[in-house]
Chain length 258, copies 2
């Protein structure tokens, strides 16, 4: 019994979220903001939240003044025009520098994401108290799982959660949003080409469902902080097994471009 | 005067489209199917259509029996286990073979897309009349422009059009849908990080809007033929200038991974 195809999908921005501080209860902030809109989470909703907000709630700040730059960091900093302590932070978060050209450092984050600056964000961070950067969550799949548990508990609805972030990519201009973390979502789904209309052999294609949901939500987010960092995706349904966003990371050994 | 952020976005599947044949009037098929659903196109709607359907309407079939395989095609065919005539078709559509491993041929299509098999599809093609493959549209941006003109004329609504297709990608598992062609859409949009909440210098980020819309629509499409190859995206608005999907193709000279 195959599920009928989806007829419609709605994406709804959650307005009125406050700036998030370390220790803030994201599930509380989100459900309160949704209630103020006269809405509530429904079974099957997927809550997409910007990485930056999750990192802030987890206090993933790093004071650059506390970082000692290694010789490698100093060398890369000189090549790219970045601060040596910032480059040291990138190296600490990474397994490998994949490419380095001009100002750009493409690193393989310790969790496998290949991305600019190992995902360490400098923008929109309050500089009042010194040079501070924001790291990715320690474990974005775990962050998603925690938020999902809390959202389900508060709302009584069975929801999914995706933590998204914008990535540059080879071959194509412009960033797109992908799923760094996910829980309760079929992040990577095997789509079997069937029924084949003309009797050819079945073919299995893996589809990056969570990345596509992350990109869809990004259309409403704008820049995460002053924008709308939480989007509710309503109406998505799939029989595919749920799996974390880590399934979307291709190991180096199976990658033709590393 | 900045446009307020989007509050909501709707994606609606167009049901009941017939299998498309060469010469079919896509705008007629689409507007008729939408009318049967009791709906109509609205100003600002973006119609996302699967590449396969556009190629079929344009009769982009190639009979493999008519293809003479070159020595290079025979060699690549032997390495990948593919039919020499099929590999010859891939070579003819491409400027360069970017990677080749196992059964996989990643080619740079003459229009710059880096993709498996230069986008030549073997699946879901009626094999009654011999070995036939389906090429990408000759010029997907032009296909989008033609369809947009026809849809606007028939519906009276000012709509955008995106022709999408699923691509594999480096570093991450699973395919995602991207925009091969587009018209009436800000395919690549410069997002200026502003207002910066803490007074840091403005930063310009290019966002692949059309790719993200293509991915969003793909969530409802399923496999294009037996699935739902046309999706209406309702509620997207942007002040960014419209530009074709060709702006999303990064030239080889500016790519760090080629």
């Amino acid at each position: 019994m195959t599920r009928p195809p989806l007829k419609a999908l709605q994406l709804l921005a959650v307005a009125g979220l406050p700036l998030v501080e370390p220790g803030d209860d994201l599930a509380d902030l989100i459900t309160t903001a949704i209630a103020k809109q006269g809405d509530a989470l429904h079974d099957g909703d997927i809550v997409v939240i910007a990485q930056k907000v999750v990192s802030k709630s987890e206090g993933r700040y790093l004071m650059l003044a506390s970082v000692a730059a290694s010789p490698q960091a100093r060398e890369l900093a000189a090549r790219t025009g970045k601060r040596p302590e910032y480059v040291e932070a990138i190296l600490s978060e990474s397994d490998e520098i994949v490419r380095c050209k001009g100002e750009l450092i493409i690193a393989a984050h310790r969790l496998g994401y290949v991305m600019a600056n190992a995902g360490i964000d400098e923008s929109n961070i309050d500089q009042q108290d010194g040079d501070k950067v924001l790291l990715l969550p320690e474990n974005p799949d775990a962050s998603a799982a925690t938020l999902r548990r809390d959202l389900c508990a508060r709302s009584g609805a069975e929801v999914g959660v995706i933590v998204n972030d914008s990535f540059g990519r080879p071959f194509r201009n412009g960033v797109v949003s992908v799923a760094l973390g996910a829980d309760g979502v079929p992040s990577l789904s095997s789509q079997i080409t069937m029924p084949d209309l003309f009797g050819r052999p079945l073919k299995v294609t893996e589809v990056a469902i969570a990345d596509q949901i992350a990109s869809a939500a990004s259309l409403l987010m704008g820049e995460a902080d002053e924008g709308q960092p939480v989007i509710v995706v309503r109406g998505f349904a799939s029989d595919a097994p749920r799996c974390p966003a880590s399934t979307l990371v291709r190991p180096k050994s199976r990658d033709m471009f590393r």
